[in-house]
């Protein structure tokens, strides 16, 4: 199902055809078989995901990214997506909401007041209740690692992990990869430094698995207190000196300091963190010429990144990341829905 929207290098060419024609091509490209190798009918994490599956999702997302503004697809017509966010989130929840609507699904944003949730106690009860309303897809974000896997064992719907504790945030890694692909082409061979709070970051974990699978050279730059034990055993180079760590890299990927998940002893002050690990012009000069900057947001300006640098559209991919998020989530929703349909078909014919 190679699409002429994507060049060999993976970079999208500017659409020269009509909006209606693009939409028609996306419709025709629909292929439920494509995602047959997705792990079950859930999207729980990147670890263990096969390279062809990742590439299929990215290719499909790349098509969705070119969907003209205002166009709405009907692929998931009749499907219901529940957004279940146990942690506060604006951009991810809105992005999933928009993605679901643009691909034709109905969306229910389940209000979860964190104050009524005592440390995840009612997670399974909530899920069981929602399951009785027969959603097709449950998008879940939860403060505990492994929560989405737990849920996937107790509900019929497809689970899409929108972030579980410090574990994984698969759609963020996919949207980061799509952003890189559309800007630079092939990911294989790129040097990418992931910087900051690795220990508490699910974004870092998903990105490490995904970028490594696609053949990038990954470096981690972090204070010793925010580098989790044994990560070197995963075959990744680690640095405590940021200048050294980002020397010659094509992309500097910054992470948010997860102060809410910290225990108070990881870094002496935000000022010191910025001095040692915050990205500014001087440090960026060590990277490859025209190296690009990424950040999953929300940013702490003056902590992880110099404010002016964050707004430098020549170098910063930060707003493009947000843009790609919707397309990636459309592809993920389509994939898990197709897999769920196929499972149900096999189930009923067996």
């Amino acid at each position: 199902m190679s699409s002429d929207l994507v060049s060999k290098s993976g970079v999208a060419t500017a659409p020269t055809v009509s909006a209606a024609e693009i939409k028609r091509r996306i419709e025709n490209a629909r292929d439920p078989q494509l995602f047959a190798s997705l792990n079950g009918h859930h999207l729980l994490g990147i670890e263990g995901m096969k390279r062809p599956v990742i590439e299929s999702l990215l290719e499909r997302a790349n098509q969705f990214a070119d969907l003209p503004k205002g166009e709405v697809l009907t692929h998931l017509k009749g499907k219901t997506v529940f957004n279940l966010f146990f942690e506060n989130s604006t951009r991810t929840r809105v992005s999933f909401d928009l993605a679901a609507r643009k691909i034709g699904a109905s969306v229910v944003n389940v209000p979860v007041s964190t104050s009524s949730i005592k440390k995840g106690e009612s997670l399974l009860d909530t899920a069981t209740t929602l399951n009785a309303m027969h959603p097709d897809i449950l998008v879940i974000r939860h403060q505990n690692s492994g929560a989405s896997l737990l849920l996937s064992r107790h509900v019929d719907a497809s689970i899409v992990n929108a972030g579980d504790g410090r574990h994984e945030h698969p759609t963020q890694a996919l949207l980061d990869a799509l952003t890189i692909k559309r800007r630079l082409g092939d990911i294989a061979g790129l040097k990418i430094a992931i910087c900051g709070d690795i220990a508490n970051s699910r974004v870092a974990r998903s990105n490490i698995h995904l970028l490594a699978t696609l053949g990038a050279e990954i470096r981690l730059v972090s204070p010793a207190t925010l580098l989790p034990r044994g990560i070197e055993d995963m075959g990744i180079a680690t640095y405590h000196d940021m200048m050294e760590g980002i020397e010659g890299v094509d992309i500097v990927m910054l992470l948010r300091l997860q102060t809410e998940r910290m225990q108070g002893t990881e870094t002496p002050s935000q000022r010191e963190f910025f001095h040692l690990f915050g990205l500014n012009k001087e440090k960026l000069a060590m990277a490859a010429p025209n190296a690009l900057i990424m950040h999953p947001g929300p940013m702490n300006r003056g902590v992880e990144i110099d404010s002016a640098l964050a707004d430098d559209h020549e170098r910063s991919l930060i707003t493009m990341q947000v843009d790609m998020g919707v397309a990636v989530r459309m592809a993920c929703l389509e994939a898990v829905a197709a897999q769920l349909d196929q499972n149900n078909k096999e189930g009923s014919s067996a």
Partner: protein, 438 residues
Amino acid sequence: MTTVFFDQIHVCDPSSGFDDIASVVVKDGVIADMGAPQKIGPAPKDATVIKAEGAVLAPGLVDMRVQSRNPGYAHQESPTSLAKAAGAGGITAMVCLPNTNPVLDNPDSLAVLMAGNRLHASDRDDQTATPKIYAYGAATTGLEDQAMAELGLLAEAGAVGFTNATKPIADSLIMRRIMDYAAMLDKPIIQHAEDVSLARDGEMNESENSTRLGLKGIPAEAEEIMVARDLALARLTGCRYHVAHISTARAIDLIRQAKNDGLSVTCDTAPPYFALNDIAVMAYDTRFRLSPPLRSEEDRQAVLAGIADGTIDCIASDHAPQDRDSKLLPFGVAATGASGLETLLPLVMGLYHQGVISLMRVFELTSSVPATLLDLEGGTLTIGAAADLVVIAPDRGWQIRGDAFHSLSHATPFEGQPVQGKVLSTWVNGQMIYKDGA
């Protein structure tokens, strides 16, 4: 009382080293005679005769680490379910932790536990005897690590040692005082050895696996540090010190060294720590959420070596029954612990079948040594001793299934595991409290 005659059975008595075919006469609840079949002769006239081909008769297990949940948490384990589970596990005596409600920090509470478990047990429909129940007293009031509990009064009420149960005695000054005092009373201190600040918010063993899973790590050093501090205080005070469920290589090394130095130091471990490692956690299965956490393969090997060379003195069930809801949670917030009474013997028998230890050593580790350590009745088949016995089929295979447990808690990290070694019957004071298949 009736007479029971065990006819020509393989007798294994770690207290005397007797390991041969023998006949055993039990009369009035005690072992009346034991020896070679030709010496003992035929069964007395009125005796109940027990004949079991290929079976082994040994002293009943003495389990030195059990959370009874009574009084206070009967939905997790009732006195009846506790007694039945112990019987099915071949356990004839158990020592309960003081983390009940009320906490066993005063002699009245201790009396409630000892009496309560016996009282309810006598209400059981079959009217049989029950395993012997002992208890540790709380080392600190309310287990809060702020003030020494009434150790003297607790000792008089029957406390066999002192502990903060599932939490360590963390404050060094309080520990020093408690050790001084316990040495005066000649009672051991049982420690859950974990540096609380280093282990704060920890969810599993700190390793590459915790990093992959995004779970907060508890480094092995948390155990090592606490054991090192406690050994220094044991040296200072002369207190008998016992590390519960030891799980790390370096802590075991420290104990080995302390024993060489002549300190009065002992330790136990539990089956998860010699049979499993932290890779088991990889699917966030809360049956593997234990405290201390499952450790690395190197640590597991060190536990095996410690069992083999005698650094580890005994093996306890570490029975920590949890209700279903406490385990149906994300890994990090699920309750720690597992149901252990009914799997202790077959799992330790696994070490015998793997050639790690002898059959005699199985019963040293689980019966005679803990009985001696805490000065309890049991752990011996000498003539005149209480007839607390277990009869097992050492080679019989079966599969561990939590839903077949007598315990109210069905959560076991050994779910589905095939094991070898089955309890055929369990006897307390010469009365059968459990019979396989009955």
